[in-house]
């Protein structure tokens, strides 16, 4: 299938090219090769960006998208290959070289100094403010630029005071201030609420109208279809589709180009009647790590065989909610799991009541990254027979247990003694799920279970969660992916600034209302 596709491309694209090549190509990368220890990150990659287009760069995690764009931004040097920017041969030894040629990149993990102001971040590394900086003058310039592109942000605010969406605007302003004509956005929508995504799209269209060219890195198919003109797909460092028009492909084909096999988008969600109440959260309040209120008088119930989705923008109390239920954070109020109060009790109490926790932080909380597969698998069962034999741990039993799970959950790992930090994100998450689900939990608290995973892995993990629901587990699903919540949940509640501001059955939920609630603009009185 893939081979045929590439043949098609070879015959169609060259016909277009000779007419426009000299005037229109903002960037041409040819035969780019870059190796990281053990990985061929870019394997003879070609990439062409036309002037005035939004070009999507699509691929799974680790496909080499960010690497390719980091080369264009001057952060990495390719081993072989040539780069032409605006028709001129370009050697990019440092980010400075790329900036001077009009290339600006907004990284996935923002490159902002949290303790500096917006203006300071924008001016960082520039020659223009002389030795002595007179910031107020530049605050003015930044405000004007922000106005022009509809990127609302306060120039004198410190970065740590800003929301993620605002921080992204600062990143975009940073590149615009440097006069970037070619803008690279690395997974820009991953952190945004639906309204913010719409605003971002508006800004991008405005910039394209001005003749700027944009590379939009993503692994979300819907988004790409919405915003991009053309796209390039990478898989395992190789180009599987080179600059094709978006009209020519459908979502299924794209997914196949990314993953290398067919992906089923339909989840097998069957109607299911909820049973008894498993989790009863009563008037719970808690503080965050800074000592500020993170949860304010939250109450809800969750039944057997039901998935309750918690929607919200990161930092509105989701992590704290998961932590109070699993015993990792002190709180006020009562949390009943199977009628036993687990609030302010050691995590063991919740575990004994059949709570499974799929934490947000997979390597910090979910696993001991330096330990082998076996050790991580038995973390919940090590104190029970057959693995525990009085004061001794039977490694024979442990290995057997781990080996069964590895097979059952299809975890791709060289061996049981592989350290889990050597696994891919999807397989690491499967290790956690296998450990947590294998005990037949009554309650599953899953926080961002598919974040950062690729299409194939997401499909597997979502199906596992649905399977648990059908086995009469109660699932609390905390996610920032609205599509995921809509697909999986039976009910959806929205959390904003530590309060549940609305709740709907999943069939009645619509994206717009939820989006408004997530940003605090709408609140349903109960």
């Amino acid at each position: 299938m893939r081979v045929i596709y590439q043949k098609e491309l070879m015959t169609t694209t060259p016909q277009l090219r000779p007419l426009h090549e000299e005037q229109t190509n903002a960037v041409e990368m040819r035969d780019i090769v870059l190796r990281f220890p053990g990985v061929l990150a870019n394997d003879h990659v070609n990439f062409t960006l036309r002037r005035g287009e939004i070009h999507a760069l699509l691929g799974e995690n680790g496909a080499g998208k960010s690497t390719l764009m980091n080369i264009l931004a001057g952060l990495y040097k390719p081993e072989t290959g040539t780069i032409r920017i605006n028709g001129e041969h370009a050697v990019l030894n440092s980010p400075r070289d790329a900036i001077s040629r009009g290339v600006g990149m907004v990284h996935q993990h923002f490159m902002l100094v949290p303790t500096h102001t917006v203006t300071e971040n924008i001016l960082l590394g520039l020659d223009d403010p002389g030795f002595v900086m007179r910031l107020p003058r530049y605050d003015q310039k930044v405000a004007e630029l922000a106005d022009k592109y509809g990127l609302k942000v306060q120039p004198t605010a410190k970065i740590w005071q800003l929301s993620v969406g605002e921080q992204q605007r600062v990143e975009i302003l940073k590149t615009l201030y440097r006069g970037a004509q070619i803008l690279i956005l690395d997974e820009p929508t991953a952190v945004l609420a639906p309204q913010e995504i719409q605003e971002l799209m508006e800004t991008l269209r405005l910039m394209v109208r001005e003749g700027k060219s944009i590379v939009f890195i993503s692994h979300k198919l819907n988004e790409v279809k919405q915003v991009a003109d053309r796209l390039t797909v990478l898989r395992k460092g190789k180009v599987t589709a080179d600059g094709i028009n978006l009209e020519d492909v459908n979502k299924e084909t794209l997914a196949e180009l990314m993953v290398g096999r067919k992906v089923i988008f339909q989840l097998s969600k069957k109607p299911h009647t909820p049973g008894e109440v498993v989790l009863d959260v009563q008037n719970v309040s808690a503080l965050n790590n800074r000592g500020l209120p993170a949860l304010k008088n939250i109450s809800f119930r969750l039944r057997q065989g039901e998935i309750l989705g918690i929607a919200g923008i990161a930092g509105n109390g989701q992590s704290e909610l998961a932590e109070v239920i699993t015993g990792l954070r002190p709180c006020q109020g009562r949390i009943l799991v199977n009628c036993t109060d687990v609030a302010n009790q050691p995590p063991k109490r919740a575990i004994d009541q059949g709570t499974a926790h799929i934490p947000e932080d997979r390597t910090g909380v979910g696993t001991a990254p330096g330990m082998a597969l076996t050790g991580n698998m038995i973390m919940k069962t090590y104190d029970r027979a057959p693995i525990s034999q009085k004061w001794r741990i039977s490694y024979t039993a442990a290995r057997e247990f781990a080996s069964n799970l590895k097979e059952k959950y299809d975890i791709q790992a060289p061996s049981l003694s592989t350290q889990v930090n050597k696994l891919s994100g999807g397989n690491l998450q499967k290790v956690i799920l296998a450990r947590e689900i294998s005990g037949g939990p009554k309650l599953i608290v899953a926080v961002q279970p598919t974040r950062g995973l690729d299409v194939g892995a997401i499909e597997g993990i979502q199906n596992l969660l649905l399977e648990q629901r059908d086995n009469d587990s109660a699932v609390l699903l905390i996610s920032e992916e609205l599509d995921e919540l809509l697909d999986l949940s039976d009910r959806i509640a929205v959390i904003y600034e530590g309060e549940l501001v609305g709740e709907f059955p999943a069939e009645e939920a619509d994206l717009k209302t939820i989006g408004l609630m997530m940003t605090g603009e709408l609140r349903r009185q109960e």
């Binding site: 993990h109 902002l112 500096h116 960082l124 030795f131 740590w160």
Partner: protein, 320 residues
């Protein structure tokens, strides 16, 4: 034991801490922790004394002290920036290295008299009633240089472009790097500057403020107090100066306590029982610990912390 003497003495001995602490602040703002301040100070003190003795010029001595501290700090820079070794281990080793070098090279200097940097009186300012007599009359020239260093370093860190680059490198080196700032270069530079200032602090002891070479008693742990002072000062030169002078005054006060036979009309225990003097000598370090605990608690409240990348080697493109 008069207030005036304690204040003046505090300004003098505080200047030593001030130089070392501001140096360490600059180094740490770039993301490098150098625990070798004590070693760099001692080496600086030795080099300054020996050079002043040999050349007859205290100013050449001062330069030698600065250079010695700076050169030694480059060893730390090389090991931690280039080879990305652990900064705590390297800094501690630097103290041993500096102390050892200073003791070997300083053999036979004890009891000699080197030419010293003299005291001076500032013409107009010393005429201010009371304050002039305390702050601007008959103090060592280095004390006045210390006065100037405080606002200049604060202004440099907070209001200039290189200062902004310095803070960015210590807070988020990846951001600085992505905008074309040479992270390694900046870290080398300020590790070196910090070393130079530690060397200056050492020189200020041996050829200016409490002159002489008394092997490792010359610095007597002041380098460690300077390191603690940086945390207490929350990486702010103004607070470092305040803390430095305060510690200087306390040291003088502890000394003065041992002098008189009567204290507040009572028998002075420190005069009659020499074993109790050890408690007094312990006090600066006890106070350092108290100041640290108090300082870090208030820093947490005000959300002022160490530079975020302090102690973390920077490797471009490493996935976090």
């Amino acid at each position: 034991m008069s207030l005036e003497i304690i204040l003046r003495s505090g300004l003098s001995t505080g200047t030593i801490l001030l130089f070392a602490a501001i140096g360490e602040i600059l180094t740490e703002l770039a993301g490098i922790q150098n625990l070798g301040v004590e070693g760099m100070m001692l080496l600086g003190a030795m080099a300054a004394f020996k050079t002043a003795l040999a050349t007859g010029s205290p100013w050449l001595g001062l330069l030698a002290g600065i250079a010695a501290g700076g050169l030694l700090s480059l060893a730390h820079a090389l090991v931690t920036i280039h080879f990305q070794a652990d900064q705590v281990v390297s800094g501690l080793s630097l103290t041993f290295l500096g102390t050892g070098l200073a003791l070997v090279l300083g053999e036979g200097l004890t009891g000699q008299n080197a030419p010293l940097i003299s005291n001076a009186t500032i013409p107009l300012l010393s005429k201010i009633p009371w304050l002039g007599r305390i702050f601007f009359a008959d103090l060592n020239i280095l004390v006045y240089i210390g006065y100037l260093l405080i606002p200049i370093s604060w202004w440099y860190i907070n209001k200039t472009r290189p200062g902004m680059h310095l803070r960015a490198v210590g807070e988020k080196p990846a951001a600085a790097d992505s905008l074309g700032i040479n992270v390694y270069g900046v870290r080398y530079l300020y590790t070196f500057v910090g070393g130079c200032l530690a060397g200056l602090a050492g020189a200020a002891i041996s050829i200016a403020i409490s002159p002489g070479w008394y092997s490792n008693l010359t610095t007597s742990g002041q380098g460690w107090i300077a390191v603690a002072l940086v945390i207490f000062a929350q990486w702010n030169p103004l607070r470092a100066a305040l803390g430095g002078y305060l510690f200087g005054m306390l040291r003088r006060f502890m000394l003065d306590l041992q002098g008189p036979m009567l204290l507040f009309g009572l028998r002075n225990p420190f005069f009659y029982n020499h074993n109790l003097v050890f408690f007094l000598q312990m006090m600066p370090f006890v106070l350092t610990i108290i100041a640290l605990v108090w300082g870090s608690a208030s820093a947490r409240r005000l959300r002022i912390g160490a530079p975020a990348a302090l102690g973390i080697p920077y490797v471009r493109g490493e996935r976090g």
